[in-house]
Symmetry: C2
Subunit: 593 residues, 2 copies
């Protein structure tokens, strides 16, 4: 068992909480249920809550508006609010995103955003204001109901996309239920659904339990089993003579092991590569980092390095089609070790309950002796070349390398599914920058709502500029969420890749089909139209060619992001990053069956 | 049993279809499954299909785009697409609305729109393009999945809001499943979910079955039971000496008995009133029509007339809170008869299977002898007075009466939940005009998507101007759907009631709370910003006071709707129609519990 104080303290708190709720020692009833919930969230660093008012959550929103640590972000619609909560949680690792909606109409609009958080393992708490407990029992034909008395239908739908549905129905269990709900959300890094009836917002309960904090740190691994796993991994690394390559993926970020991984890499000297969803889990300017591995879509000089290692250690991997070059990893099980949040896989053997959070520090200790050998393994530098193209038009082959020199340390980059999500993969990003992308769920429009949450979180924890890349087609789905960005004084740069429609779909099927066309909006009028009564300064630009792009990127007043800015980038309907073209071809083939 | 030829023919077709599929007489395989589905929809008068492309539906969209009778309406997002399909179905009574989305991400975004159609009984078919049958079995970690192999999660969520989920999995059953799905949708007037795998779009099946048409006409009532019900109703009317009041509601429109009701009223001479959701089910200029009955919120002169009748016959009623003045009908069961789509309720007795479609013509025959008495019952004229207000500002008390004289026969009016939905209730609408409103489900933003579908349907069947009333808060949820209106050359008038936020919420709770504020967009820039590259003429206006409103409404070039127009109406944040103020007060009280 780990001897890390943080782990031990978390375990002690968990046990104390369990004891406390069993003893049901009633303290003074000094805090409303609503504020108990809000204080729990504040303890975990939640500073923004997303959502919309609706008549079943208004009482709760009074408490939110009055809460000293939590700011209410009024979104334009619930799907966008869920996306924003997802983006917020991705940036504030160890905390969570929270979205509050109203019964039926509000909560159902959010469901795709919640499902995306489930799929991509993002801790989002969905609080739903519901009818009071008397109505819940009598089931009258209220507005926002299905007209047939099925008050449980929404929860049943929600349950498909959460790790826990918790329905508060009385005062006595409220604190325990809230603690359970939040704990499930942060430890499993997945959505939880929590209903709060109108008449259970203000009743007072004891605040005693709030003294014991909730923690995302998972329980310790079973000690003997963990020892066994460490021995066996050590043995495999020894057999491989330290010829190990590490592959980091999404769950390094989602399950809070960024620091453990950094230490592991530093002390062992192992070369490291990232899967697309793991990009920026390790600083891309780290000298032992070699770029992105994505199966058969990987550039050959990287592919060889990864696939020829005697042993590949994957950390937090997520083997989806787009994350693996359509399942084209060329890594035999016999040379593969996988560390996950709740289990470890060594070749063909699966060790349940041995999670990476506590395993990694011990592995570091055990494997650092390989440093002298491992640190000598060659890692190709991860760079991108600006091509010498004569053509004035902005092609993806030029755009992404050009952006590479625009990015700065601590930048936060949000990339929409499609051309942006693929284009950004090849760009080496600066130290302490973060990439946010939704590669598995791939819901177009997600990046815009997400960008709002990302920007609020980034401001909160002192990250730098927020830069969104979104296609014109995707932006149409969620465009109104630019408005809260402006209203909250955020200053992202929004690059709108105007390629006249759904380019990613065109590449898969229907290159010249009308269903892949969209209306050609006046993109540069958006910030002005969606501003809050001209209160905020905005700037919009169109770049038609390479020269205009370069001029803009080089302008200090643009790069310093002193206001919110939108850049319409004129591109070709059928142009795309090479990797996307190849992925689309493979998708098209597998779709055909 | 009814002897109406339409009923008998529908029954014959149903039996022939059943026989046909049992005999599984294989014809020549001459039509693709995708086109079989599209031809079925075209037979029922479907001319527009809503939705978005996604990589699992692209093959099917080729067929849609190439279909001679069906036009693909590319929406901006799936929720809006579902709203549009809902609006389309509401106008094209007897037909259905169709929305096509892609697996996971697309379909889940639409779910609130589908739930609304379920709640309000609107026939919407949701076609979902899903992975091919091989993938459905192997369940690989595809994009748009939850990452855990649960390919059935989306269908399970959808099933909460449909009368049928149908998953096409093979060629042999495809035609039968399609026919069942569409039949369930149009006869029950509720959503159906139909999945179409990528590899089952193009395989050919026999078109033989298409020769037998599908029909929304319900099966005949059991003959003896129907006779019994007619006798008993006749007896009750006799006991009441013909002192009967008829109350029409939503299902008159949804279950296609508009004509039957018209005939019933004409031949019996009974006075008629409408519930809010039944407004325009009967022409409001019909001389025996007395306006809206909504329980305790009803103006006294109408309330007395309805509640003092010896017998009240409700047709197609839907007793939701907002539709009944918060359940304040003062109509004892002993004086109440209710005709529904699948049963009849006479006082305390419920007669299952006796539906109104076939019952009404026979009741007309049986009760027309009461005409001499019933036609003499006084019906107060349904009028609205323009108040003589000195104040220049536009109050709801002035706005709605003023609009009354702007409306023309055949206008189609779409009213958003909130101030608009309540304000329009008191306005007598001209002959053959239609009101579309979502009073039970009440999802804000619905009216904008819906307006798109309404406008396409109205154009299709030769109705007149389409006029939307939406609040600024609601418009923010779904604003992008103005874009397809423009792109399709539609010319609605969009009245945006700018009252600086969610007024309906303010009235319920949090009058001056910030969570009820919204960003103050440049509303009159919307049409220009969302236009398709300036291709279409648009016009936008702001009216700040009564004079400006009058000037605009009187301008022939405005009233003739030769282009799409947006009118920003400046109103007060806390002003609302009287009925809404009183409803909000009641809602606030019952919410508190």
């Amino acid at each position: 068992m780990s001897n890390e104080p943080a782990t031990l303290n978390a375990e002690i708190d968990r046990l104390r909480l369990e004891l406390h709720s069993l003893q049901s020692k009633e303290g003074v009833n000094d805090i409303s249920i609503g504020n108990y919930l809000l204080n729990r969230l504040a303890q975990l660093g939640v500073t923004s809550m997303f959502g919309l008012p609706g008549d079943f959550n208004l009482g709760f929103l009074d408490l939110v508006e009055d809460h000293p640590q939590i700011d209410w972000v009024g979104n334009c619609n619930e799907l966008n609010a869920a996306y924003a909560a997802d983006g917020y949680a991705r940036i504030k690792e160890g905390s969570l995103g929270v979205v509050t909606t109203t019964f039926g109409v509000g909560e159902l609009s959010a469901i795709n955003g919640i499902a995306g958080a489930f799929s991509e393992m993002v801790p989002v708490l969905h609080i739903v204001g519901v009818p009071n407990t008397v109505q819940q029992k009598a089931k009258p034909l209220l507005h926002h109901t299905l007209g047939d008395g099925r008050f449980d239908a929404y929860g049943k739908a929600a349950a498909q996309f959460t790790v826990l549905n918790s329905y508060i129905t009385n005062k006595v269990d409220a604190a325990r239920q809230i603690d359970q709900a939040i704990t499930a959300c942060i430890t499993q890094a997945r959505p939880v659904y929590l209903t709060l009836p109108m008449d259970l917002v203000y009743p007072k309960i004891s605040s005693e339990q709030l003294k014991i904090h909730l923690s995302p740190t998972p329980p310790p691994n079973p000690a003997l089993k963990e020892d066994f796993v460490i021995d066996i991994i050590h043995q495999r690394v020894t057999e491989a003579n330290g010829d190990v390559v590490v592959l980091v993926d999404a769950c390094v970020m989602r399950h809070g092991v960024r620091e453990e991984v950094k230490q592991f890499l530093k002390e062992t000297g192992f070369p490291v590569y990232a899967a697309p969803m793991g990009k920026t889990a390790v600083d891309e300017n780290y000298n032992r980092y070699g770029g992105i591995y994505v199966g058969s879509l990987t550039p050959p000089h990287i592919k060889d390095k990864v696939e020829n290692a005697k042993l590949i250690v994957s950390i937090g991997s997520l083997g989806s089609d787009f994350n693996t070059g359509n399942f084209s990893y060329n890594i035999p099980v016999s040379r593969h070790i996988e560390l996950h949040s709740t289990y470890t896989q060594v070749q063909y053997a699966r060790f349940e309950e041995v999670g990476m959070k506590h395993l990694l520090p011990r592995l570091t200790e055990r494997l650092k002796s390989f440093y002298p050998v491992s640190s000598k393994i060659d890692v190709p530098p991860f760079v991108i070349e600006l091509p010498n193209e004569q053509d004035p038009e902005i092609l993806h082959s030029y755009f992404w390398p050009r952006l590479a020199s625009f990015f700065k340390p601590k930048d936060v980059i949000v990339a929409e599914t499609g051309t942006a999500g693929f284009g950004i993969l090849g760009v080496p990003l600066p130290a302490n920058s973060v990439l946010v992308s939704q590669i598995l769920w791939g819901s177009i429009g997600w990046s815009v709502g997400s960008c709002l949450g990302v920007a609020l979180a980034a401001r909160d924890i002192g990250l730098g500029r927020v830069i969104l890349f979104v296609g014109d087609g995707s932006l149409q789905l969620t465009v109104q969420e630019i408005s809260p960005m402006i209203k909250k004084g955020l200053k992202p740069i929004l690059f709108v890749l105007n390629n006249k429609g759904y380019t990613v779909e065109r590449l898969i099927h229907g290159r010249n089909r009308k269903y892949n066309d969209i209306a050609d909006w006046k993109w540069t009028a958006l910030l002005d139209t969606l501003n809050d009564g001209n209160k905020f300064e905005t700037a919009s630009y169109t770049v038609n060619n390479k020269q205009e792009l370069n001029d803009l990127l080089d302008k200090p007043s643009f790069a310093d992001t002193s206001k919110i800015q939108l850049v319409e980038v004129i591109m070709q309907p059928l142009d795309a990053p090479e990797a996307l073209k190849r992925q689309a071809e493979m998708t098209s083939k597998s779709n055909a069956g």
